[in-house]
């Protein structure tokens, strides 16, 4: 996997999702650490646009060759866009987890409230290592 650096301004959850917020819209993906640990991703199941999830609820499932893993909402809100490319080409998550490999865009219900407990990338790395 090509090494890429985490984008400026992302927040990470302990459950290995990243969030980038802009005008109350949150793009969500998986951290490099999670992708590395999972290995080759061969299946991604995404929610329907319009579905609302609370923070920490399971909203997607991914499968590596070895096992299935659940992905949790780092921020509560409504799904406004999904990355359909991942459904036909799940390997994008391995190739570019920070940009092309994003999962969903969420219209946050209360970003300020839900972002409590998320941390900056450097702190996240420190915590998991």
């Amino acid at each position: 996997m090509e090494q890429r650096t985490a984008p400026e301004g992302i927040l990470c959850a302990k459950t290995h999702e990243w969030v980038l917020e802009e005008d109350n819209v949150c793009t969500v993906g998986l951290t490099d650490y999670a992708v590395e640990e999972l290995g080759d991703i061969v299946f991604v199941e995404l929610p329907e646009v319009g579905t609302t999830f609370e923070k920490n609820e399971v909203f997607a499932t991914i499968e590596s060759v070895k096992a299935a893993s659940e992905i949790y909402m780092p921020i509560g809100g409504k799904i406004i866009e999904i990355n359909e490319e991942l459904i036909s080409s799940p390997e994008i998550v391995n190739e570019d987890n920070w940009e092309k490999g994003w999962f969903v865009k969420i219209k946050a219900e209360d970003f300020a409230r839900d972002s409590i407990g998320l941390c900056e990338y450097e702190d996240y790395r420190e915590e998991i290592e």
Partner: protein, 387 residues
């Protein structure tokens, strides 16, 4: 946690280690998909030193082996191998293993056998051997701590072994074993494996294994060799439709139920553990006395989902069985699986106790949702093992 002698070498190759049967083993190096592809197209090198190597020799070695498995060991010629199951009195499978008949050395009067068994079952197997060895003049020599083992698998394995000094015509034929030298190292080399590809399993003393590993990787460069881990080993064996003990086989499953009837000797005279049950299930003797309780099936997913170990199998809204192994198949791009259909459950459905046949559409429950799958024939990928 035990480590094989190649542990440090594997860390240098960026291996990701996982616990497996009491050993710390590499699950992958560069990635399961890449390693899988290397084995199907070129050649892959697996460290399988965790597996058990047990030598059985002595005056009664044949008589003893005849008692512990449904295969006919008396017909096994020198230098040949046979796939066996260690069965209990009910015909259940305690372990599955390969028996190699080794060449007798000058002063050896009786046949000598090498048994390669699952790492997780060595202690259980040895216990079972001891309990069955009373009144048999045999020596059971567990060499698992002294031997290491490599599996070199893929269409270019033979060319690599030739480059290492063993000409193609001198290489063992399929399901055969030879004691020979590779690069001055004395070892056993067998034409066998767990991938569905042509390839070799090399059994050698602990002291030479690091050298062999190194030499195979260096000489294998021109054949695009890749070190491969347990992850690829699992996807490869699944595509080849091969059972994994603990997933697809256990002590409550007979070889007949597991779809292994082909491996059972039908006309073997000697009594062996579980013979009554197995012959009854085969319909040869005492037909109907012991019924087959389940049927082993292979399936591929029709809907987009991956079946995994212990997921439930449904037919017409009724639970009829369980998945024992499932994965994404890198070669076919399909999601594939193995499992059992329980006959007492089927009897109540429109299948009416007949066999679930190829083409039957079943459902697999994945995260509380039903997904269609189709019963298919094993193997999922054509085997290339006949030499």
């Amino acid at each position: 946690m035990k480590k094989t002698l190649l542990y440090e070498q594997q860390l240098k190759l960026n291996a990701k280690m996982v616990p497996f049967a009491g050993w710390e083993m590499p699950v992958q190096y560069k990635g399961i998909l890449e390693e899988h592809k290397a084995v199907r197209e070129n050649v892959g090198l697996f460290d399988v030193s965790h597996m058990g190597e047990v030598l059985v020799s002595g005056k009664d070695s044949v008589r003893f082996l005849q008692k512990i498995c449904p295969q006919d060991i008396s017909k096994l010629e020198t230098g040949r191998a046979v796939y066996c199951q260690l069965t209990n009195e009910k015909g259940g499978i305690i372990d599955d293993f390969i028996t190699y008949r080794l060449e007798q050395e000058d002063k050896e009067k009786y046949p000598k056998y090498l048994l390669i068994m699952n790492a997780s079952r060595i202690d259980e197997d040895i216990n079972w051997f001891s309990r069955n060895a009373l009144n048999y003049d045999i020596v059971i020599d567990n060499q698992s701590h002294n031997y290491s083992m490599l599996a070199l698998q893929g269409p270019k394995a033979s060319a690599l072994i030739e480059k290492m000094g063993l000409k193609k015509e001198k290489q063992p034929k399929y399901f055969s074993i030879k004691k020979t030298h590779l690069d001055t190292v004395s070892l056993y080399i067998a034409r066998s494996g767990y991938t569905g590809e042509d390839g070799f399993e090399i059994i050698a003393g602990n002291q030479v294994i690091e050298f062999l590993w190194h030499e195979l990787l260096i000489n294998g460069k021109e054949f695009n060799i890749e070190p491969a881990g347990l992850g690829a080993r699992d996807t490869l064996r699944l595509e080849a439709g091969l059972h994994l003990w603990g997933n697809d086989l256990d002590e409550n499953t007979t070889p007949v139920e597991a779809g292994l009837s082909w491996s059972v000797a039908k006309d073997k005279k000697e009594r062996y553990n579980g013979k009554e049950v197995i012959l009854s299930q085969l319909g040869i003797k005492n037909k109907g006395l012991y019924d087959v309780k389940k049927q082993f099936i292979a399936f591929e997913m029709v809907d987009k989902a991956i079946a995994r170990h212990e997921y439930e199998i449904y037919f017409e809204d009724k639970k009829i069985g369980q998945v024992t192994s499932g994965t994404f198949s890198p070669t076919t791009g399909k999601n594939i699986g193995l499992g059992y259909i329980y006959y007492d459950k089927i009897a109540l459905t429109s299948l009416n106790n007949s066999n679930v046949t190829c083409g039957t559409i079943i459902q697999i429950m994945v995260r509380n949702k039903m997904y269609n799958a189709k019963v298919v024939k094993r193997p999922f990928v054509e085997k290339h093992t006949r030499i």
